[in-house]
Symmetry: C2
Subunit: 322 residues, 2 copies
DNA sequence: CTAATAGTGTCTTTGAGACAATATGGA
DNA sequence: TCCATATTGTCTCAAAGACACTATTAG
């Protein structure tokens, strides 16, 4: 279907269809925007790019970067890339290394209290970027750790609800497993944090307040995280979080940060090297060994595989260290 | 982002943001529709629901069923369900058994020559339904075998192109493998066709003409097929193509029809039963044995699993009979 | 020197796939 | 009776995961 027919009632000629197509209540009253869930790793912690709202509906709250699609002038993908560039202040060279894919569309009535808005959400994987400068927009942009976000109800909604006939926005979160992000997993650029996150922290006195997100952006971020966690299982996209050259340990850090739990170093290492086309060796080795000693790690770059075969499946549940 | 800010230029107060939000060139000029890729099995062959266009831009061509989203009155999911019901003439009881999920959004400029239109595509898995009555719309609706569609260039685009920084509509086609649909695989309700499809047919004299699709619907259908083929790997959604009770052989027929190749009967049988929650036994057995004899197959119904663990992976390539 | 760390070897278990065997019922 | 067919058994191979070991280097 495109720009005629609008459904409802039996056909009565064509006159009616014509009128329906141009009924201002049916057609032009929806705004189309793109929103971007941009993920990156900073110091081994997964961050999302957010902007602080200056305007009224959710003033002061954090929201996803995004903006209107320029009707007839750009594709949705181009609109997303443009908005991401504006918001991060990235030049074309840096943008080259960012993976951008469509996540899904959100159009519940009332999701924006002012008017009907359908937003096409995008998911971006970025290497550690320079601090976000508050793009071309009113408020500040910043990378916020996902563990500081209040994703509560939205996150639960990914995997184990509803029955088959249910029809809700479920843009293929491949193997979603409810598993909230433990605060500080992964590497700070080299080694992975050893212990599980849940019991390591000494009793925090004042619980760090979780940031609420504007509109339905909590759900969009939750869907994006589900997608990211699933996608690095069967694609080499984890390398999009790293520089051109990286060590296997750094790559493991990406998986640990995104999945939120430690992985078995030895098995991970062997498995990555065994998947054809995942990584390829540069001759070189890292400048230094591990943080507190150890041999220098070999350097690799991303291979040419677009899918991992076999895949790197997530560990089953709360047990550890696959 | 929602209904303010529109990117580009520095902030200058709020006045500008307000104006931008209501600049008619930026906001109201995009129409939003839903289109549905509804798949079903008829006689062991995968079919898509299509409508024949009466109007001008692609008059006489086949297109996906769909229609405008009623701004502010319904969610995208509701719009898709409504359009599907209208187009198939399905009552609520039948709709209950249809799986509906969002596929992705398409908004290239010029995809509709008349005006900017962003469509949110949905994917539906339906059991064998009564013949489509030409719903509420101008032209006829019909189930068309996917093998009769010209999906050419669009299908190639799913998996192995572009590099990481590429940004194009790739709504997570999980494990796409280019593999065109061999005409008549699968079962006609009971047993699966034995031989491979490609050589069985006696030399066809006049090549059956492939039907072109209107707008960018060929790509949308191709994306939907990719998604369907991937999704039955790790979800129990193949059962959505069958009745409430079914045999393992019928279930295998679904996989063979969607994947387009024969599967090893014995191994498939054992694997399905070994995945927890995929199917559960009703005590009963089928009324008849196989087409030309054999024991009566046991009947099963869909289990309560939402994900298959372990998954049923597609056979690797052109070799056969996993 | 000492301890931490990159990388490898090995063993066990699980699952995939090929092949064979058994039993049932349509013609 | 004959043979296609549903279902189960067995064997082999690949991969996952647990665990142990070696070599290297920061402090």
């Amino acid at each position: 279907m495109d720009a005629d027919r609008q459904g409802g009632g039996a056909d009565d000629g064509g006159e009616r269809a014509f009128l329906a197509a141009y009924d201002p209540r049916d057609f032009p009253a929806i705004a189309v925007t793109v929103d971007i869930v941009a993920l990156t790793l900073r110091g081994g912690v997964l961050h999302v790019l957010l902007v602080e709202r200056g305007g009224r509906p959710f003033q002061g709250a954090w929201a996803l970067p995004g903006g209107f699609v320029r009707a007839g002038q750009e594709s949705l993908d181009e609109a997303a890339a443009r908005e991401l560039a504006e918001e991060t202040g990235l030049d074309a060279a840096h943008l080259e290394r960012v993976h951008l894919e469509q996540l899904g569309s959100y159009g519940d009535p009332g999701r924006d209290p002012r008017m009907p808005v359908v937003t096409v959400a995008y998911l971006a994987f970025a290497p550690d970027l320079p601090e976000a400068r508050g793009g071309g927009d009113a408020s500040a942009a910043a990378w916020i750790p996902v563990s500081r976000l209040a994703l509560g109800a939205a996150a639960e909604d990914g995997a184990a609800r509803g029955s088959v006939p249910r029809s809700s926005g479920e843009p293929d979160a491949a193997r979603p497993r409810p598993q909230e992000q433990g605060p500080g997993h992964g590497t700070d650029g080299g080694g992975s944090v050893p212990g599980p996150a849940d019991d390591a922290a000494p009793a925090e006195s004042t619980a760090p307040p979780l940031l609420p997100l504007a509109f339905d952006h909590a759900r969009i971020v939750a869907d994006g995280l589900d997608r990211a966690r699933a996608k690095i299982e069967y694609t080499p996209l984890a390398t999009a979080f790293l520089g051109r050259e990286f060590t296997i340990v750094e790559l493991r850090g990406v998986y640990e940060s995104v999945w939120g739990g430690p992985l078995h170093a030895g098995n991970f290492h062997r498995k990555v090297l065994s998947v054809p086309g995942f990584v390829e060796s540069t001759g070189a080795t890292a400048a230094r060994g591990g943080a507190r000693g150890g041999p220098r790690a070999r350097l690799y770059r991303a291979g040419d595989a677009r899918l991992l075969h076999p895949a790197l499946l997530r560990p089953d549940r709360e047990d550890g260290v696959r």
